[in-house]
Symmetry: C2
Subunit: 380 residues, 2 copies
């Protein structure tokens, strides 16, 4: 029985482990937080820092394979492990490209993968010479995550908001749609492409409202999305699963925003809505089984459940009953004890053949479901 380790014990690890129990595999998790979402679902929990060389190396040296939950892991240790014969999904070489936004942008450019044009800045002062490049988005080369480390610079007077560390300045795209294309690729280079999904943003709050699967895009755009995402994944030269995040601009052009070399938030709906989920698919890759069927069974929407504003502390869920009494609602709570404003605490997948039904239920969830802290429940 193969021994596979996961670096990180959050919700992605949790869902990977739910899927792992279908297969003959011994599972391990490396994570500092002993009460993390994945801690109780693995065969062996190892307390340690995924960014520390020794912790990662010692965790991995007796394993057959390793995957990641997050990009900020110790790549040097993974390289040493790979040299010693441990299979890493994704390969450290791919991870090195992706985890540094400068290298990632250069990778797209070198491989003629369409992506927003960019400039590199080493320090904040460098921004001055690019005032005619605005409006643009300034992104830290490393350390950014879930919207952090990203700053919109609309006009010259915004330049002081930029980062004083190596960063990428990306020409702002006039976005028509944001799309995610998930692709699995195995060691033989065979690929499985999920139907692309579409992110619907709340314009007022500037946050993800919900996600639709499959995306509503014309077939010629869909072909372009698939071809470009496939090129990204093939050029990364690594088995694993990848989420290629894509902008479709107002001219209909397809541009790669960024790539995640792992199971991804935009693939959560695949648990219920597609034949083989992204988690099932990654196990098939890692256990060297034939790839699964990525096609969708039913149309779906996915809503992230995040901690409500102004609430920090022990999580309390409001509205579960009202949500679950609607038909074909699939709740996934990640078992995080503490809520914080905007923290991803769970998600809900909605299945329906009718888009109007999906959108209606997504809105109801946004209205009725709240994650507050224990304190505020008592005082309200």
């Amino acid at each position: 029985m193969l021994k596979i380790g996961i670096l990180g014990g959050g919700q992605l690890g949790r869902m990977l482990l739910q899927a792992a129990a279908n297969y003959p595999v011994e599972t391990l998790v490396l994570e500092n937080d002993t009460e993390c979402p994945a801690a109780h679902l693995c065969h062996h929990f190892v307390k340690g820092d995924i960014r520390n060389f020794n912790d990662v190396y010692n965790f991995g040296k007796t394993l057959d394979g390793i995957t990641i939950e997050i990009e900020s892991v110790n790549v040097e240790a993974l390289e040493k492990l790979e040299n010693e014969g441990v299979k890493i999904y994704p390969r450290p070489s791919a991870l090195r490209i992706i985890r540094d936004k400068i290298l990632q942008k250069q990778f797209y450019k070198e491989n003629e993968i369409p992506s927003p044009v960019f400039r590199i800045t080493e320090k904040k002062d460098d921004l001055k010479k690019f005032y005619d490049f605005l409006p643009a988005v300034h992104k830290k080369a490393s350390g950014g995550y879930d919207g952090r480390g990203v700053q919109v610079l609309s006009e010259e007077k915004d330049l002081h908001l930029g980062f004083d560390q190596p960063s990428v300045l990306e020409k702002k795209v006039d976005i028509h749609k944001e799309i995610s294309q998930i692709i699995a690729i195995n060691a033989s280079g065979q690929t499985a492409l999920y139907p692309a999904v579409e992110m619907i943003f709340n314009q007022t709050l500037n946050q993800l409202d919900y996600q639709l699967s499959p995306a509503e895009i014309p077939q010629h755009t869909s072909w372009r999305v698939e071809a470009i995402a496939l090129k990204v994944v093939k050029e990364l030269k690594s088995p694993g699963i990848f989420a290629v995040e894509i902008f479709i601009d107002k001219n209909g052009d397809v541009l790669v925003n960024e790539t995640a070399p792992r199971v991804h938030n935009s693939g959560h709906h695949t648990i219920e809505a597609n034949f083989s989920s992204q988690f099932d698919m990654l196990w098939r890759v890692m256990l060297d089984y034939p790839l699964g069927n990525p096609k969708h069974i039913v149309h779906a929407a996915m809503v992230n459940l995040t901690g409500s504003e102004g609430n920090s502390g022990n999580a309390v869920y409001e509205g579960i009953d009202e949500i679950l009494k609607m038909e074909n609602i699939f709740l996934h709570l990640y078992g995080k004890k503490e809520t914080r404003p905007g923290r991803k605490m769970g998600h809900i997948t909605i299945l329906s053949p009718e888009k109007s039904d999906l959108v209606y239920k997504a809105k109801i969830i946004k209205q009725k479901f709240r994650i507050i802290s224990h304190q505020s429940q008592i005082t309200v």
Copy 2:
């Protein structure tokens, strides 16, 4: 967060725990085997004997709820726990009826639930007076499981094969089809009926070949199956999930064979083929959430994966690759270290809108997939 315990740590517990990770619930398992299929997927594993009063009582006394994986648990301890306010799914009163085949048959009779006619025998000698009742099936009142404790008595000369302990002698039914109807019922008495499934037996080997969902039965039969199974579940007066096993005889009559008061082998396909799986549904009952949607999404077949004849020892799986390269095959291996002839080691669900495709793939699985012991793999 509610604390719910499972008595028994086999595959049913394993699949319950895979589903539990979607909900805010703290899970515990009581089981003697520390390497059982469910051991590593719960929050707290407690080593102990589910048939021992003290073990069950001590396990349960700090919990909010308890469910079972198997009927042979200590009912007295569950009764005491129920009196002290712990919710038991199913209630001990229902469990008492079901775990004793004599009480179960009397329950059907008292409630005018159609079921094969029967006689009660206390000892083997009693069979003599029922020679004109043959052909019949002799079933031990307690201790039978998965076909054990059951003996067909076709003619007078077979009478010596009967059991010398309290048993039920059931008139043999001229079976046309064997059906399972799974029903969930919550504390308010609301019910959710899964589409009935049909068991297809291999006539030569006299074992389950595969299972089809939904069953191919005329609508008036389906209505009768649902009405009768619903009557069984309502008269048991207990929340939980129940599998009512039913014979349809050659005259088209619908007769209850027996009832299982728990998640059941005949509901495994619901993980992929139905909106809310039997495991998800039981959590909804236990956590007092609205019931899920039991309807099927796609037609399905389910094949049990059992240990090959002549093989005992550390399990080795043959044919996984060949099976998984077929489309829409869902493998579930239960992680049991040791295989034995006929032991349930896993199952496969096949999804397809075409019956011919389901049957074809079920046959291929039967031919190609083998579970052998490590020893025989080396010597072959």
